[in-house]
C-alpha cells in the first residue's frame, strides 16, 4: 500500500511540472471517476434521487391511510388507472408502495447514501490519504449501486406491479406469484436489484476497511482517528459480515422461485393449487434475513452517530466527552448487533427459550447507547455552541436517538413485544431511529461537509427553515404514531374499516391521529423542497467556501478548497494530536488542527 501512495505522490510531483498535461476528460472526471470525492458525490446525488422517490411513495399511501377510499387526483396522476382506479389507491398497490418505500429508504438512501457518501468523502480526507486503497473497486461499488437503483426503479413500472411482500419479503408471500401480483416480475427485479446492491456494498466496505488499516498518514494512530472514521470502519465491518448472509437468503429465495427448490416452502395450497414442496422452513428465511436485518440498523445508524459526534464537538468548541468510551461503545454496539437478530422473531414460532436469550442480548445494547447519549450531553455542557444548520441537525439526532432508543426497550422485551409486535408502535419506533436519527445525521453531514464537497457554502437561513420544519414535521408524524400503535393498530393495513365491527371508539381515535400524521408528513415533505433547492442552487451559485469554514481540527480542512487529484499538493500532512483539541487551555485560539505539532510542554489530551 505504501508503494501506491508513493506512486501517487510521485505522480503529483510530476504533475506540478506539467499543469496542462493532466486535464481529465469529462467521462473520467464526472462519470467513470475513480476519485473518492467524486464517487462520494455520485452516491449522494443518486441517494437523494432515490430518497425523493421513496418520500413521494410514502405521501401517496399516507393519503389513503388518512382518508381511506377517497379519490385523489394526485393518486391517479402518479399511479394511473390500473393502480388507482378513479383516484382510489388499490389494495395491492398500497402494499407495493409500502414495500418499495421501505426498501429504498433503508438500503438506497440510508445504506448507500449515508455510508457510501460520507465514507467515500471522509475516510481518505480525514486519514490523510491520497485516495481509497483501490480507486477502481471504489468506482465499481458506485456503479453496482447505480445499476441496482435503476433496477429497483424499473421494478415499479412492470405490468404486475412492484414487490408487495413488505420490505422484509417473507416467503411464501414473496415466493408465490399466485399469492399476490407483485410476487411475479416485480419480486424478481427486487431480488436481482438487491443482489447487485449487496455486491456493490461489499466492494465499498472492503475498500473502506483496507484504507483505514493501511493508508493512515504518519502519526494517525487508530486512537487519533476522528469518531467519524471509527463509525465508518465498524459499519464497514458489519456490512462485510452481514450482507453476504442477506445475499444467500435472497439466492435461496431466487431458487425457490425459479428452480423449484423447497428451502422456504412446505405444505402449501395456494390459489387452489396443491404444491409438492415439503420440508422447507420459513424460520430459516427469517433467521437469515434478520442476521443482516439487525446489523443493518446499525449500518444505518453508526455513520450518523459518527458524523454527529464530529459536528457536535466542533460546534460546541469542546472535545467530545469520553473519546475512548465513544470508541468502546461503537465497538460494543457493533459486536452486540450480531447477536440480537432474534428479537424480530419472538412470535414467529421460534423456541421461547431462544427468545429469552435474545431478550438479554438485545437489552444489553441499551448500555453502550446510554453511554453515547450521556457523553453527547456532557459534550454540550459548558460548551460554546455555534448553531450552524449542521449543529441543529446533530442535536436533533441526539433527541431522536433517545426517543427511539427508549421505545426499543419495550420492543426488546419479548413479553411486551407480543402485544405490540407488527403494530404501528414498531413502525413509529424504527422510523424515529432510522427515519429521523439517521436522516438527521445525513442532513447534518451534508450541511457540514458541503463546503468540502462543492467548494461553496449552502445558504444558512434556508438551512434553518429546512431544519425547523423538518424537526417539527417529523416529530408530528411519529409521536402520534406511537399512540396508534399502542392502541393496537396492525401495520400494513390498507384501511381500518374492520374496527367498525368491534370498536368504533378506537377507530375514531386512530382516524383522528392518522389525519394529523398525514398532514405533518406532507408538511415535512414540502420542507425537503427547500433543502433540494438550497442544495442544487448552492452547487452552482453558492458563495465560495473558505478552506476551514467551521474552524475544525480534522485533516480534511487542511486540504485546499479546489479538488485536486491526490487531495493535498505536495506532501501529506503529518498528525501530531487527536482531533478534539477545542478550547484547550493554554492556547490562544479555540481549535488546534491535528497537523499542528505539540507546543513545548504541551501534553496530549
Amino acid at each position: 500500500m505504501a508503494s501506491i501512495s508513493e506512486e501517487i505522490q510521485n505522480h503529483e510531483k510530476h504533475d506540478d511540472h506539467n499543469d496542462h498535461h493532466h486535464e481529465e476528460h469529462f467521462v473520467s472526471k464526472y462519470i467513470f471517476s475513480q476519485d473518492h470525492k467524486m464517487i462520494g458525490k455520485q452516491f449522494l446525488i443518486t441517494a437523494i434521487f432515490m430518497g425523493i422517490i421513496a418520500m413521494l411513495l410514502s405521501i401517496l399511501f399516507r393519503l389513503q391511510l388518512a382518508w381511506p377510499g377517497e379519490s385523489f387526483e394526485t393518486l391517479s396522476f402518479f399511479l394511473g388507472d390500473r393502480w388507482a382506479p378513479d383516484g382510489v389507491l388499490s389494495e395491492d398497490m398500497y402494499l407495493g408502495l409500502v414495500t418499495i418505500h421501505g426498501t429504498v429508504m433503508v438500503f438506497f438512501l440510508l445504506t448507500g447514501g449515508l455510508s457510501g457518501t460520507f465514507s467515500n468523502l471522509l475516510i481518505p480526507l480525514q486519514l490523510g490519504a491520497r485516495d481509497m486503497a483501490s480507486g477502481f473497486l471504489n468506482m465499481l461499488s458506485y456503479w453496482f449501486f447505480f445499476l441496482s437503483s435503476i433496477l429497483m426503479v424499473v421494478s415499479m413500472f412492470v405490468q404486475s406491479g412492484p414487490a408487495m411482500a413488505g420490505w422484509t419479503i417473507y416467503p411464501p408471500l414473496s415466493a408465490l406469484p399466485q399469492a399476490i401480483s407483485g410476487s411475479g416480475m416485480g419480486m424478481t427485479l427486487w431480488l436481482f436489484s438487491m443482489a447487485i446492491f449487496i455486491a456493490g456494498s461489499l466492494l465499498g466496505s472492503l475498500n473502506y476497511i483496507v484504507t483505514v488499516f493501511n493508508l493512515r498518514t504518519v502519526g494517525m494512530k487508530m486512537t487519533r482517528m476522528p469518531l467519524t472514521i471509527w463509525a465508518f470502519f465498524v459499519t464497514a465491518i458489519l456490512g462485510v459480515l452481514s450482507f453476504p448472509v442477506l445475499l444467500s437468503c435472497a439466492l435461496l429465495l431466487i431458487m425457490d422461485r425459479m428452480a423449484g427448490t423447497s428451502f422456504y416452502l412446505s405444505d402449501i395450497i395456494i390459489g387452489g393449487e396443491m404444491l409438492t414442496n415439503h420440508g422447507g422452513s420459513i424460520l430459516l428465511f427469517e433467521h437469515l434475513f434478520w442476521f443482516l436485518g439487525h446489523p443493518e440498523v446499525y449500518i444505518v445508524l453508526l455513520p450518523a452517530l459518527g458524523l454527529s459526534s464530529e459536528i457536535i464537538s466542533t460546534n460546541s468548541r469542546k472535545p467530545i466527552f469520553g473519546y475512548r468510551a465513544m470508541i468502546g461503545s461503537i465497538l460494543a454496539i457493533g459486536f452486540l448487533s450480531f447477536i440480537v437478530w432474534g428479537h424480530h422473531m419472538y412470535v414467529t414460532g421460534m423456541n421461547p427459550f431462544l427468545g429469552s436469550v435474545f431478550v438479554f442480548t438485545t437489552l444489553l445494547i441499551a448500555i453502550p447507547s446510554a453511554v453515547k447519549v450521556f457523553n453527547y450531553l456532557t459534550t454540550l455542557w459548558k460548551g460554546s455552541i455555534v448553531y450552524t444548520p449542521a449543529m441543529l441537525f446533530a442535536i436533533a439526532l441526539v433527541s431522536t436517538f433517545i426517543t427511539g432508543g427508549v421505545t426499543g426497550i419495550i420492543l426488546a422485551d419479548s413479553a411486551l413485544d407480543i402485544s405490540v409486535h407488527d403494530t404501528y408502535f414498531v413502525v413509529a419506533h424504527f422510523h424515529v431511529v432510522m427515519g429521523m436519527s439517521a436522516v438527521f445525521g445525513m442532513f447534518a453531514g451534508v450541511y457540514h461537509w458541503f463546503p468540502k464537497m462543492y467548494g461553496r457554502m449552502l445558504n444558512t437561513r434556508l438551512g434553518y427553515v429546512h431544519f425547523w420544519l423538518t424537526l417539527v414535521g417529523s416529530y408530528g408524524v411519529f409521536f402520534p404514531m406511537h399512540f396508534v400503535g399502542i392502541a393496537g393498530a396492525p401495520r400494513r393495513y390498507y384501511d381500518y374499516s374492520v374496527y367498525t365491527e368491534f370498536d368504533s371508539n378506537t377507530l375514531n381515535m386512530m382516524m383522528d391521529l392518522n389525519v394529523i400524521i398525514t398532514l405533518f408528513s406532507i408538511m415535512a415533505a414540502l420542507a425537503q423542497g427547500i433543502f433540494l433547492f438550497n442544495f442544487f442552487y448552492s452547487i452552482y451559485r453558492g458563495p465560495k467556501a473558505p478552506q476551514n469554514p467551521w474552524k475544525s481540527n480534522t485533516l480534511e480542512w487542511t486540504a485546499p478548497v479546489e479538488h485536486i487529484h491526490g487531495n493535498w499538493p505536495g506532501e501529506l500532512p503529518t498528525v501530531h494530536r487527536w482531533p478534539y483539541d477545542y478550547s484547550k487551555p493554554g492556547s490562544d485560539v479555540d481549535f488546534i488542527p491535528q497537523n499542528v505539532p505539540l507546543a513545548e510542554g504541551e501534553e496530549e489530551h
Binding site: D413, T460, F483, Y493, F502
Partner: protein, 396 residues
C-alpha cells in the same frame, strides 16, 4: 389537466421566488460583509431559544397525547395473561418516560444555556472515568430489573398449558380464519395438507378422507386422468404456456397421488374417531370465561398471524410449522361492553402478518360467554361434528 398546469406554474413561480429572495439575501450579505460560515450572535440566540421552545413543546405534546389517549388507549386487557403484560408494560413505560424527560430535558436545556456568548470560552473537559462508570452502571442495573421481570412474564406466557385447558385449532388462509374445537375428547384429530378438499377444508386424516382425496386426485374434475385426457386429445389445441402449466400440474398430482397411496397403506384407522368428533366453526369463535385455552395454529398458504388485541396475545401461523399460544379470557363480551361503554363492542381475532391484498379484512369475531351460556352453545354443536358435516356433504 388545467389544474395540473396551474399547479406546475405555481411550483415554477415558487422556485423563482425563492431564488430571487436568496439573491437579495446574498446581496445584503455582501453589502454588510457577512460570511455564510460565520453564524451571527442573533442567529445563535434565536436558535438556542427555539431549541428551548421545542423542548417544551415536545414534552408538552407528549403529555397532551398521554392525557388524551393514554398508553392503554386500547382498553383494559381481557385475559389473565393480558393483565400481567399490561402491568409490566405500565412499569416499563414509567421507566422509559422518566428517562425520556430527563435526557431530552437536559439536551434542550443545555442547547439553550450554553449557546456561544461573547467572551465566554468553552470548558475543556475531555473525560472523567467516574462519570462514565456511573452512567454505565446505572443503566445496567435498571436493565437488569427490566430483563428479570420481562423474562419471568415471558416464561409464564410461553409455558405449557394446564391440563384442563381446552384445545382449539386456528386455521388461517387467504383471507379468513377457521376454528376447530377438539370435541369431547379434547384431542385434535390428525391432519395432512394433501387431504384438503371441498368437504374437508382442514385436511383431517381418516380412512374415508384419504380415500376420497386419492379418488379426487386421480379421477376428479382436475385430476390426473382428466389432465392426461386433455393432453392426449388431438382435437384440443393449447399454446405453450398452457401446456407447460398442465404438465407441471400433472407431475405434481402424480407425486401427490403416490404419497397419498403410501399414506393409505400405512393408515391405522383406530385414531380416526379423534378426528370425527372435532367441531369446525367459522365466522365466530366462542370461548368460555375463566377457561384456559391452548390454541394450535396452522396456515394453508402464507404466513398469517393470530392476533387477539384485547387478550394481548399473538403468534404467527406458519405453513409447514405448527405453532401454539395460550390464554385465559377473564371478561365476558357483555361485561366488556359495559366496561368500554359501547354496546357494540366485540372481541376480535385479526391477521397481523402481511398476507396479500385483502390482509386488512382477514378477521374472526370472538365471543366470550359465561359458563352457562357456553355450555348451552356447546350443546347446540353436538350434532355438528366433523363426522356429521362430512357425511352430510357426501350424501349430497
Amino acid at each position: 389537466m388545467e389544474s395540473k398546469l396551474i399547479i406546475l406554474l405555481v411550483i415554477i413561480l415558487g422556485i423563482i421566488g425563492i431564488a430571487q429572495l436568496v439573491r437579495v439575501y446574498e446581496l445584503v450579505s455582501k453589502l454588510r460583509d457577512k460570511k455564510e460560515h460565520e453564524i451571527t450572535y442573533r442567529d445563535n440566540q434565536l436558535n438556542s431559544k427555539l431549541m428551548l421552545l421545542f423542548g417544551i413543546l415536545q414534552s408538552g405534546s407528549l403529555i397532551f397525547l398521554f392525557l388524551k389517549y393514554g398508553w392503554t388507549g386500547r382498553g383494559v386487557a381481557a385475559s389473565v395473561e393480558g393483565n400481567e403484560i399490561d402491568w409490566l408494560l405500565n412499569l416499563n413505560m414509567i421507566i422509559i418516560i422518566s428517562v425520556f424527560f430527563l435526557t431530552n430535558g437536559l439536551l434542550f436545556f443545555f442547547s439553550y444555556k450554553y449557546v456561544k456568548k461573547p467572551g465566554v470560552k468553552a470548558y475543556y473537559y475531555p473525560h472523567n472515568n467516574k462519570l462514565e462508570i456511573l452512567w454505565t452502571a446505572v443503566p445496567a442495573c435498571v436493565l437488569a430489573i427490566i430483563i428479570i421481570l420481562g423474562l419471568k412474564t415471558w416464561n409464564n406466557l410461553t409455558s405449557d398449558s394446564p391440563k384442563e385447558a381446552i384445545v382449539i385449532e386456528l386455521y388461517g388462509k387467504q383471507f379468513d380464519w377457521t376454528a376447530r374445537y377438539s370435541g369431547n375428547d379434547n384431542k385434535l384429530g390428525r391432519f395432512d395438507y394433501k387431504l384438503t378438499l371441498g368437504n374437508n377444508e382442514l385436511g383431517l386424516l381418516t380412512k374415508e378422507t384419504i380415500d376420497s382425496a386419492l379418488f379426487d386426485m386421480q379421477y376428479g374434475p382436475t385430476g390426473i386422468e382428466s389432465i392426461k385426457s386433455k393432453l392426449n386429445n388431438e382435437k384440443l389445441v393449447f399454446n405453450d404456456s398452457v401446456i407447460s402449466s398442465m404438465t407441471v400440474s400433472l407431475s405434481r398430482k402424480e407425486r401427490l397421488a403416490r404419497l397419498l397411496t403410501q399414506m393409505k397403506n400405512h393408515h391405522n384407522s383406530k385414531t380416526d374417531k379423534i378426528a370425527w368428533d372435532d367441531v369446525i366453526q367459522k365466522d365466530t369463535l366462542y370461548l368460555c370465561v375463566d377457561q384456559p385455552y391452548e390454541l394450535k395454529l396452522r396456515s394453508r398458504d402464507i404466513i398469517h398471524s393470530a392476533y387477539f388485541p384485547q387478550f394481548r396475545v399473538q403468534m404467527n401461523c406458519v405453513p409447514g410449522l405448527p405453532t401454539r399460544l395460550k390464554f385465559t379470557p377473564n371478561i365476558t363480551t357483555s361485561e366488556m361492553r359495559k366496561k368500554m361503554n359501547d354496546p357494540k363492542y366485540n372481541f376480535i381475532l385479526m391477521c397481523n402478518k402481511i398476507c396479500g391484498g385483502a390482509h386488512y379484512k382477514m378477521k374472526m369475531m370472538v365471543v366470550v360467554l359465561n359458563k352457562k351460556e357456553y355450555s348451552n352453545w356447546w350443546k347446540s354443536k353436538a350434532n355438528q361434528t366433523f363426522k356429521d358435516s362430512y357425511f352430510a356433504s357426501k350424501d349430497i
